[in-house]
């Protein structure tokens, strides 16, 4: 296990226990996060549709990836069905709001519904671990996909369903600039909630179940309860992300919620950093932006070497794959780890070695 140096500057001693259990590890970190939120909030003043839509998608995927990180990173249970729970949230919110409930209320309700479904599909975790559990979650992926295709009343079946536009006391969140604030709100809520979870009783219990379930049990932790709860929390955030996604696109159809999406969520948390709250957002950004960056790269190559202009699509796909593999080899502990190490070396500069 890699050891990350203590991020606090020397002389920054904690005088009280409260100060030692703060949400962020340093005052600078707190300021940086606040500044980040403010900057994103200011983006609509500066940027146009493309940047805003990317920010919205990073936020939406980031919330869902955060959920998966609670399950896989914190609790150590791999899920191959997270994409289906994301889809369930999208359909659920479209369905709830289609029945006359305001979208802003439908979104958390969809989260709760997805949570319930996630806990039902999490029941095998009471008996199964590791790869066996992963295969059981694969079953939940296919069962839900089948459900999406058949449950016309809920999902519109093969046609899909319309998701209403969100509105806030009659104010329509019908543009990227407006929708960004709704996503930003949920990003802040979700990330603060999970960061809080990580420093309180049940969050510790989840990590204890992952690190050593036999001794966790002796400490009074009910393994079954926490293994299933972890599916519940994880699915709640998948559902919130899915709901935001549905209302953003305005239309929900089953094609997007396949095993590919589930695997992309896994890639996000592995690249961002397993068990890391902020890593979930970094990983989501990486997986969303990498294909676009590689497209630019492939097109650039094609202008220099016109002979391969036909193959830019392949070059793009291959370089996405190569970048992910390189990343995993060079930085197996994720983006967050890289960032901490970089910061630690800045702080010690010029005496970093």
């Amino acid at each position: 296990m890699a050891h990350v140096p203590n991020p606090r500057p020397t002389g920054d001693f904690r005088a009280t226990y409260a100060a030692d259990r703060t949400l962020f590890r340093t005052r600078n970190e707190t300021m940086a996060v606040l500044a980040g939120v403010v900057l994103v909030a200011l983006c609509p003043l500066v940027f146009g549709g493309y940047v805003l839509s990317q920010l919205i998608m990073i936020g939406i995927y980031g919330i869902a990836a955060l959920g998966l990180n609670v399950l896989t990173g914190m609790t150590g249970q791999i899920s191959l069905g997270h994409g289906a729970f994301f889809g369930f949230g999208a359909f659920a919110s479209a369905w709830i709001s289609g029945n006359g409930i305001p979208v802003l209320i439908a979104i958390p309700l969809a989260g709760l519904m997805t949570m319930a479904v996630g806990m039902i599909f999490g029941i095998p975790a009471a008996r199964l671990k590791g790869l066996y559990l992963a295969i059981a979650t694969l079953a939940s992926q296919y069962i839900l996909q089948d459900f999406f295709a058949r449950a016309d009343w809920f999902t519109g079946g093969t046609y899909g369903s319309l998701a209403e536009t969100a509105s806030f006391f009659g104010f329509q969140l019908n543009s990227d600039a407006r929708y960004l604030y709704l996503v930003l709100f949920w990003v802040v809520v979700a990330f603060v909630a999970v960061a809080n979870l990580a420093r309180t009783r049940d969050g510790r219990a989840l990590v204890a179940v992952r690190d050593h379930y036999l001794s966790a049990e002796i400490m009074g932790i009910n393994l079954t309860r926490y293994r299933i709860l972890s599916f519940g929390i994880s699915s709640f955030f998948a559902g919130i992300g899915g709901a935001l996604y549905g209302h953003y696109l305005g239309f929900v159809s089953a094609e997007g919620f396949t095993i590919i999406l589930s695997i992309e969520f896994l890639a996000m948390i592995i690249i961002g950093g397993l068990g890391s709250v902020s890593g979930s957002l970094l990983g989501a950004a990486f997986i969303l932006l990498l294909p676009q960056a590689m497209e630019v790269f492939a097109n650039g190559v094609a202008t220099v070497v016109p002979a391969i202009a036909q193959g830019t699509a392949y070059i793009k796909q291959m370089s996405v794959g190569a970048a992910i593999i390189l990343f995993l080899v060079l930085e197996p502990e994720g983006l967050v780890h890289r960032w901490r190490m970089t910061r630690a070396s800045w702080k010690l500069f010029p005496f970093s070695h």
């Binding site: 296990m1 050891h3 203590n6 226990y17 409260a18 030692d20 259990r21 909630a193 999970v194 809080n196 979870l197 420093r199 309180t200 009783r201 049940d202 969050g203 510790r204 219990a205 990590v207 204890a208 690190d211 050593h212 036999l214 001794s215 966790a216 049990e217 002796i218 400490m219 009074g220 932790i221 009910n222 393994l223 709860l229 929390i233 068990g275």
Partner: protein, 275 residues
């Protein structure tokens, strides 16, 4: 709460079989409130199996275990902490990626009330207050075991001796009435052993715990224990005060070739101390 000296744990005719292996055969003994009870015996004698029966990991093939007059075997493993039974493990069983502080806080799990909902809201609903209160308690354990300097380190990177200490800290955090220690001094150097012996003595005096200990270091066992039971091939071959056990012919035979001379020396020492 039981009076000092009264029986709190009663192991009655317990046998454990793994396929053809009889790990324990008709073992009976009891542990009394406030005492330090040691379980000794050669490797593979069944000591850890006995502890596992008490802490719920193994289910006896036959026999009963009573905890404060109540049938212990009907309770699930995760009830042990709130029943008042804590333990450490022979092969370290810490939460390797968690900080020392969080490891010990897990020991407080069964005494805490905040859950994932109130935890997520932290500032409203009392989670913050409770976390800080428990943190304060855990700091007293950290001070007691002198591990302040590693409290924020991940437990997995600590030295063996420190990890043993953190395990003890986590078990103390349960505030159990009975603490089960499986070879707390194994693999330690003399200085670390002396520290550990000091902590174990203080467990009884400051934390008012009853201790059941498995230990191979006979010197430590004889010095610290009120009563000793000796297991060999899954059977209790002797039980009683340290000097009675040392004088026992069966015990000498069981340890024959191993520490024969050392046993004699210890027996002489004990006899002197008694006289």
């Amino acid at each position: 709460m039981a009076d000092r000296g009264s029986v709190i744990l009663k192991v009655d005719d317990v046998s454990v079989r793994f396929g053809g292996v009889k790990a324990l055969s008709n073992v009976s003994f009891d542990v009394r409130k406030g005492e330090l009870f040691s379980l000794i015996g050669p490797n593979g004698a069944g000591k850890t199996s006995m502890l596992n029966c008490i802490s719920g990991r193994y289910r006896p093939t036959s026999g009963n275990i009573a905890w404060q007059g109540d049938d212990l075997l009907k309770h699930s493993i995760n009830d042990r902490a709130s029943l008042g039974i804590g333990r450490t493990f022979q092969n370290l069983a810490l939460f390797g990626h968690m900080s020392v502080l969080d490891n010990i806080l897990v020991g407080r799990h069964h005494r805490m009330k905040n859950n994932f909902v109130t935890g997520m809201f932290y500032w409203v609903g009392g989670a913050r207050r409770e976390e800080l209160k428990e943190r304060r308690f855990v700091e007293t354990i950290i001070d007691f075991l002198e591990i302040q300097h590693v409290r924020n380190e991940p437990a997995g990177i600590l030295s063996y001796g420190l990890r043993k200490r953190v395990e003890l800290a986590r078990a103390i955090a349960i505030e159990p009435e009975l603490i089960l220690l499986d070879e707390p001094m194994a693999g330690m150097n003399l200085e670390e052993k002396e520290d550990m012996a000091r902590f174990i003595i203080a467990l009884r005096e400051e934390f008012d715990m009853t201790i059941m200990m498995i230990e191979h270091d006979m010197g430590v066992v004889m010095d610290l224990s009120d009563r000793v039971a000796v297991l060999d091939f899954g059977r209790v071959i002797a039980a009683g005060s340290p000097e009675e056990v040392l004088a026992d012919e069966h015990v000498k035979k069981a340890y024959l070739g191993e520490d024969d001379e050392m046993l004699d020396a210890l027996a002489a020492e004990e006899a002197e101390a008694v006289a």
